[in-house]
Amino acid sequence: MIHIKVNNTTHLFKPNVTLDEIIKGLDISVNGIAVAVNENIITKTEWHTKTLNESDEVLVIRATQGG
């Protein structure tokens, strides 16, 4: 298993896990989100081909209330 940080919390995943599998595995609603791996934005079309490595850091953001 490899350690991946998602929004600063460490999770364990199988080696060569894809970003798509991580999003689905954590049950994150995909509507209106953006994802970056190690501060590089990964577009939705690349999620299923982007594989992650040990200690990678994933950032998932979405809109919230603000002025």
């Binding site: 929004n7 049950d27 994150i28 609603s29 953006a34 501060e39 934005i41 209330q65 603000g66």
Partner: protein, 254 residues
């Protein structure tokens, strides 16, 4: 009709989504305001909370989303935040706000200019939140902003147009729309900004934390429309150092 970039707006009242007591009140107030451009912020997804989705509440055919970069401290972070928002919300519009100082939330002009230059090159429609600085407004115009958003007073202060003299210079000089953002605390402030010739105002706190946000949203809508109408009708000139009779002064009693 107000035009920013390729978009035309019937309403000159832009609104924010912060500080509302509930999503339902926010939705009703936004609809009552008839605002067509509504700001949202970005945050890290709370993986434990699957109900956490503001878009569900503001998804409406006439509402365009304007993501902001609130929370960033410099140009580099702002560019990253804007790119995230473009991916998340499928819009290349961004309200650029860089205010590293958490006490007064005043925008950093140098980082804002740097970020604007880069974001314009990346194809963004940049709406920069700035101090009411006429020189900075011209510099931003030179690098390709589609509008400027000078503050009337510090964010959330409700103090009104404390920067009036500088707003008037900005309005006089600007070749892009001027949207007064921050500090507008009452419909009269909004009307006054419009009478001065502002192209639009952005209001959040004054609506969201009023006792009745839905009624306050309506009041702002009417104030903005009235202020614009007065500006277009051209105000009567101010008379100094004497009075000017509005009734005939010919004597009629003798």
């Amino acid at each position: 009709m107000l035009q920013i970039a390729d978009k035309k707006y019937t309403s000159r009242l832009f609104t924010g989504t912060g500080k509302f007591s509930s999503s339902q009140v926010m939705r009703e107030a936004l609809l009552a305001s008839e605002s067509e451009l509504v700001t949202v912020a970005l945050k890290r997804v709370d993986i434990e909370d699957t109900q956490d989705d503001i878009l569900h509440h503001i998804n409406h055919s006439h509402i365009n989303l304007l993501p902001n970069t609130s929370g960033v401290r410099n140009a580099k972070e702002a560019v990253f935040a804007a790119q995230l928002s473009r991916e998340a919300l499928e819009t290349n519009w961004v309200k650029l706000e860089i205010h590293p100082d958490p006490k007064y939330l005043l925008p950093d002009p140098i980082e804002t200019l740097k970020a604007t230059e880069e974001l314009v090159k990346l194809g963004f429609v940049v709406m920069p939140y700035i101090h009411a600085d006429p020189v900075l407004c011209k510099r931003l115009e030179e690098v390709g902003v589609q509008c400027v958003m000078p503050l009337g007073a510090p964010i959330g202060s409700n103090k009104g147009l404390k920067t009036q003299d500088f707003l008037e210079i900005i309005i006089d000089q600007s070749n892009v729309p001027v949207i007064v953002d921050a500090g507008i605390g009452a419909p009269s402030h909004a009307a006054y900004a419009m009478e001065l010739g502002a192209d639009a105002v952005l209001v959040n706190t004054a609506i969201a934390v009023s006792q009745n946000p839905v009624e306050m949203a309506k009041a702002f809508k009417m104030a903005v429309a009235a202020g614009r109408m007065a500006f277009e009708a051209k105000l009567a000139p101010v008379v100094h150092k004497k009075a000017a009779a509005s009734s005939p002064l010919t004597s009629f009693l003798n």
